[in-house]
Symmetry: C3
Subunit: 138 residues, 3 copies
């Protein structure tokens, strides 16, 4: 059985780290499936999905890490194409990846105790985001 | 139901970014499945898969990003093992990841309007690549 | 059909790269499924999963790559929250990702000849790790 749902979120951009674990748990509970996978996929090319221990220190640290990996202040060819100034946002999103797959067993995702699912919005402005949560199982 | 197909591609290496969205859409259409996931997996350890807004500026930018993250010109222990000089290619591929999973709903992948699926070939020479596209759904 | 198994591993931390391909192959063989996906997911927020050509040179190279991407010696806000000194471990894990999905066809994963599945433990001390291997197919 397969259930596909959308989560709509307002984000602030600039490496906004949003804890979506509870949203995903809610969709899993609604599906009433016992075993399988949840696929979390963000539509758009300036945001990504991963897991992290969601606490204020690491939220700061991940922003600084992405600033080292794909700095905002350097030149991006993308900015000459569109002039929207978010070349760094696209590169960060492509590096992190748009999706994550989490197995669940006995109605519960196999996350660690401190391991949360997060959306990271890399865009250079606030956005309305759609995150697809698809539950597939039996 | 599960359908597994191979896409064969010629790539140029050196961070060649190949838009494979249409190939994946074709395999999804052939499956005639309505809801589920498409898994895109590249065999080999010097290429990866992600999503990006596929335009010439970002293709340039992603090459430069990988040159910062795992530079070609520094020393790699791998090159002493095999002498094939592509240590940077392996490292880039392992960082990006070999697979991506995209949900589809009502016969259509949930990609954003500008979000394309790309194979990035990091090897230091042209390659023939096999990309596995597996459609699982109902 | 869905089978969910746990692999228990002792790791050394500090970017310990552990080849788990054989463990995953064993779970796939036990499932007796012909076609589908294997999802490999590491619980916890200081380890990740990817594929690599598993040889000593690249094991060294990937450690050095992560030291460039998220250096151990710089300041992390996380370390002020908990004092456990593993902020860099968390950041590396979130960048690499906790899961990978590998299609299998005709009882065999579609890995390249030199492409192995590895757990990378980024924590700053030895750990007991649980890796979930879930086989879904028909």
């Amino acid at each position: 059985m397969i259930i596909t749902e959308n989560i709509s979120l307002k984000t602030n951009g600039e490496c906004d780290v949003v804890n979506i674990t509870h949203h995903v748990e809610t969709e899993l509970a609604k599906s009433n499936l016992k075993n399988g996978i949840v696929t979390v996929f963000v539509t758009g090319s300036t945001a990504g999905v991963t897991t992290i221990e969601y606490e204020a220190g690491l939220v700061t640290d991940i922003k600084e890490a992405f600033e080292r990996i794909a700095p905002k202040g350097i030149s991006y060819a993308h900015n000459e194409t569109w002039g929207d100034g978010n070349g760094y946002s696209h590169i960060r999103a492509s590096l992190l990846g748009a999706s994550i797959v989490i197995p669940f067993e006995n109605f519960k995702m196999v996350l660690g105790m401190w391991q949360q699912i997060v959306l990271i919005d890399f865009d250079n402005r606030p956005r309305n985001r759609e995150v697809v949560v698809q539950v597939m199982g039996e």
